[in-house]
Each structure stands twice: as C-alpha cells, then as structure tokens.
C-alpha cells in the first residue's frame, strides 16, 4: 500500500468520525440552542441556527416549579448513591479480597438481579407503597433506586478491588491492621477512582430514571424526568421551555461525564467486561 492511498484512507476515516460526532452531538447541541430561543422561533417550521438568545425558556421552566423537581431529583440521586455505595463496599470486599465461601453463587445472584425487567417489579412496588401510604415519598424512591443500582455497583467495585495487589493487603495485615482499618485506610484509597466511577454511574442512573419516578411519585416527590415527560405531546409545542428544562436536567450529568470521562469509560466497561 503506497503512502498516498494510505493518507487518503486516513482522511476518509477522519471524515466519517466527524460525521458520527455530529450525529451523536446534534441532539445535545439542538436542545442547548432551543433553550435560548423565543418560543415562536423554537417551534417554527424552519429550524434556525443563528438567533438572538433569550432566557425566556429558562424563566418559564422555573415558573413551572422546576427548582422543586430538581431538588427532588438531587435528593433521590444523592441518597440512593450513598445507600448503594455504603452497602457495596463491604460486599465487594467480601467478594474479592476476603472471600465468602460461595463467591460464585453470590455473584451469580448479583448479576441475575441486574437483569430484572423493571416492568416486572414496578406494579408490586406501586401497590405495596400505595397500601402503606408511602407513594409520592422521595426517600422511598431513593431507597428503591439504591437497591436497583446495588448489583451494578457491587459488580463494578469488585472488579476494581480485584486489582489491588495482595502484597499491600498482606503487609497491612502483618502490621496488625484490623479489617475495618484495612478497608478504610489501605483498600479504599487505592480504589478511590473506581469508587468514584461507581458512585457517579449510580448517581446518573438515579438522576435520569423515568419509569419508577413516573409510577411512584405524583406531586410532592416528583422528579425531573417525569416533569419533562409531561411536556411531550403530539403538537411539538413548548419546545423552548422544554429544551431549557431538559438542558438544566442534563447539565449535571454532562459536567460529570466531562470531568470524569476516563473513570466513567473504565467503570462502564469494567461493569460489562469483567
């Protein structure tokens, strides 16, 4: 293969890459642009890229009580992340470093729960919480999210813990470190990026979750995704306010994704590959 065909191929590959970037980036960009358009322009039949930005959409979203929904989302995501991380650390430790007897069985159980079709458990959850009067309670939703994210969190953390060199742990044990000390002072600092990635992924799942939130909350505990979903209709109206609201909802996740890109990619593939 001579060098000119090779460089031509290289250019083609690069071009294809940029087109793909556009395909994946366009919806994000369009949402962002629309949020700053006046409503008439956003829902206009002709799409426009150049315009004078206004904050009307953001104001309208806030007028509709967006702040409250965001706060609920934040509460649910943070609480559920704390729950799943706190439970997952000891569990992952016992599945990797200081192993329980039936590692294989416990692991199979964890993975299999990960496949649970949500639709198969939402109705019971709905009925149970309805009976005991716990519908529309943000902490109930947070606990459900925490449980839902637990298998993935355990699985990911375990794959990070497996990479801790055993010599280090052994050295700590020889020095007489108890198990609690071993986890907190030796193991955790080593796998901190992994713990952060697992926590971030669990936060993102909870922040974005729609199905359970739609069913288990109605007003006081309603989170952002069902609030956004309630705007969607067949007429393509309210695009500006909807896009503004969607941008606000996506912002934390996008920032997190940007900052922790490396850990996220690694955590994600860890969860799948290992």
């Amino acid at each position: 293969m001579n060098s000119s065909t090779r460089s031509a191929r290289g250019a083609l590959v690069t071009l294809v890459t940029w087109i793909l970037v556009l395909i994946f980036f366009f919806p994000v960009l369009w949402m962002f642009l629309n949020g700053f358009k006046p409503e008439s322009l956003a829902s206009s039949i002709n799409p426009s890229f150049i315009f004078k930005p206004v904050t009307e959409g953001y104001q309208l979203a806030m007028d509709r009580g967006m702040a409250g929904y965001l706060q609920n989302s934040l509460t649910a995501a943070v609480t559920s992340t704390i729950i799943s991380v706190l439970l997952a650390i000891p569990a992952a430790y016992a599945l990797s470093i200081r192993r329980v007897k039936n590692v294989q069985n416990s692991l199979s159980f964890f993975i299999s729960t990960r496949f649970m079709p949500l639709a198969a458990i939402v109705l019971p959850l709905f009925m149970i919480f309805k009976t005991v009067g716990l519908l529309d309670n943000i902490y109930v939703l947070a606990i459900v999210y925490g449980a839902m994210n637990l298998p993935v969190t355990v699985w990911m953390m375990r794959s990070f813990l497996l990479e801790v060199p055993f010599e280090i742990i052994e050295a700590a044990r020889v020095d007489g470190a108890g198990m609690f000390r071993e986890i907190v002072r030796i193991v955790l600092p080593l796998v901190l990026p992994g713990v952060a990635a697992a926590a971030l992924i669990s936060f993102i799942f909870a922040w974005n979750e729609y199905f359970l939130a739609l069913l288990l909350t109605s007003s006081a505990a309603r989170t952002t995704p069902p609030f956004l979903g309630s705007f969607v209709d067949g007429r393509g109206q309210f695009l500006a306010v909807l896009s503004a609201a969607a941008t606000i909802a996506a912002l934390p996740v996008i920032i997190a994704g940007w900052v922790a890109q490396k850990q996220l990619v690694r955590g994600l593939s860890m969860g799948a590959i290992k």
């Binding site: 994946f24 964890f110 209709d233």
Partner: protein, 316 residues
C-alpha cells in the same frame, strides 16, 4: 470449578481462605455481604413474590380499594394463552429487541474499530460525544427526538422537503411500522455509546505486536479484523450483545414518550408499556402480573446463558 485443578498449590504468599482456618474470621465476609443480599431480597424478591401471588388472583380496580382478591388459580395464564393481543406484543417485543440489539452491536463495533483507526484528537472528540449521548437523561434526549420526527415542525420532514420529497405534514408515528423504525433508531442511538466504549476498551487490550506481526506476514485489513481482532474481542462482544438483548427487551421510556407524542398506543405496545397500561390504565393487576411473570421468564431464559458463560470465564 475447573480452576481448582489448574491453580498452583497455595504458597506462603497466597493465603487460601479455605486452607487457613481462622474460626472467628470465617463468618466475617458473610456478614459483609449480608446487608446487600437482604436489601436485594427485600427490594426484588418481595415484589416478585407479590407478583406471583397476584398473577393467581383476580385483582382489579375493586381490589385496589380494599376488596379481598379472589383466588383464580391459573385462570389469568390460561386467558393469556388465548389472548392474541398479548402474543402480538410478545412477538413484536422479541423482534424489536433482536433487531435493535444486533444493529446496536454492529454499529458499536464499527465505531470501536473507527476509534482505533482514527487520530487521537478525533477519537477524543468522538468519545466525548458518545459519553454525552450516553449520559443525557433519556427524557431529555427524547424531547429532541420527538421534535425531529414531529409532523408539523420536525427536522426530518423539513430535510425531506429540502431534498424534494413531499413529506409535509407526514406523521411518522401514526403507522406502526414507521413508529418502530423511529423507536429503533432512537434506542440504537442511545445504546451505541455504551457498546462502542466497551468494545473499544476491549480492543485496547490487544497487544500491538500481534497485529504488527500479522501485518508483516501480509495479512490485509479485512483478514486482520476477521482472523485476529474479532476472535480476541469476541467475549466482550457476546457480553454486550446479551446485555443489549436484555435491555432492549424491557425498553419503556422511549416507546411511552413516542406514544405520548402521537403514536397510537394500542398498536405500538411493547411488553413494558403493555404491562404498564394493563396495570395503571386498565387496573387489571392480575393479568398484568401474569404478563410480568412471563417477561421475567423470558429475561431469565436470555440471561441464563450469559450468567453461565460469565461464571466460566471468572478467574481464580
């Protein structure tokens, strides 16, 4: 386990928990796992138990308001067997899930290979774009997608007009076929990032020496892909494919929001929305539970192989 036969005898540096008796500590790991197990059993086991029981009852609106449910045995399941609506939904869900999963993994593999072939800057930008698409709240990206396919002011019709197709006012969501094409494009768009990033992570594990050696031996690009790269990343591909099958079987949000955006709900249900509608719309919890159990069985059937194969690969 086969690994026990091949692993070297325990040395001083590798304490084997089974070999070294530590009576007070033996129970400790179990205590560490117990809270997690308990939470999972409570959060998943209990609802499933409820589901099984309810699927054997006549549980309608009256029961929601406190009337004791009537025990009907397998009647709900028997009714389902002859319910053509349900089997259409099941068939549709399976077809949708197969097509989406295969396309997703195909596109994801292509993207992963592309990331390996392209320069560093372009790769980074693509990675960020993929990550953005992955992290976007589903409902947020759905707002853009429902606009793209909107019949009145959507981008799709506008573009088609520009290239001379008379698509003005065409509603893509009314016809079930085009509804599902739209849904599939959206689902694939949302799931490709995860697949591409995972396979790319697998590709980076390949040693460059092997590929170089193959190139020196005169293997062309296609041969290298087929004979070296694909066999080596096959484990990753099969895992993401199975995950995708399972996730696409339970797709809910995209279908629900497309229905809200103008689809005809009764003609476009997949299992997730069907159960949701049976339970919360029609209030027929007995039937809904029976369908849920069916879906659970379907999922277990798919994931069984995955869990088994994963366990075989598990080292140590």
């Amino acid at each position: 386990m086969t690994t026990t036969a091949t692993s070297p005898p325990p040395t001083l540096h590798e304490p084997d928990p089974a070999a070294a008796p530590q009576p007070p500590r033996r129970r400790l790991p179990a205590v560490l796992v117990a809270p997690t197990l308990l939470v999972l059993v409570a959060a998943l086991g209990y609802p499933i138990g409820w589901q099984v029981v309810t699927s054997l009852q006549k549980f309608g609106l009256a029961q929601q308001f406190g009337r004791p449910p009537e025990w009907v045995g397998l009647d709900n399941y028997r009714a389902l067997l002859t319910d053509t609506d349900l089997w259409v939904v099941v068939g549709r869900s399976i077809a949708f899930c197969l097509i989406c999963a295969l396309v997703t993994v195909g596109v994801g593999l292509g993207l992963a290979l592309l990331m390996g072939a392209v320069g560093r800057a372009a790769r980074l930008v693509l990675q960020v774009a993929l990550l953005l698409a992955w992290a976007m709240p589903v409902v947020a990206s759905m707002t853009v997608w429902t606009w793209i396919v909107n019949w009145r002011n959507g981008l799709l019709n506008w573009l088609l007009e520009r290239v001379g197709v008379d698509a003005e006012g065409h509603n893509w969501l009314v016809q079930p076929v085009s509804f599902f094409v739209v849904a599939a494009v959206i689902v694939v768009w949302m799931s490709v990032p995860f697949v591409a990033l995972s396979i790319y992570a697998g590709l980076t594990q390949l040693s460059p020496e092997v590929l170089e050696a193959a190139e020196i031996d005169g293997a062309g690009g296609w041969q290298r892909l087929r004979l070296i790269i694909l066999p080596l990343v096959r484990p990753v591909i099969s895992i993401v494919l199975l995950l995708q099958l399972i996730w696409d079987l339970r797709v809910f949000t995209q279908v629900k929001l497309l229905q809200d955006a103008g689809g005809v709900a009764n003609e476009t249900h997949l299992l997730g929305t069907y159960i949701y509608q049976l339970g919360t719309g029609a209030g027929d919890f007995g039937t809904a539970s029976a369908v849920s159990i069916l879906m659970l069985v379907l999922t277990v059937a798919i994931s069984w192989y995955y869990v088994r194969s994963l366990m075989k690969e598990e080292p140590r």
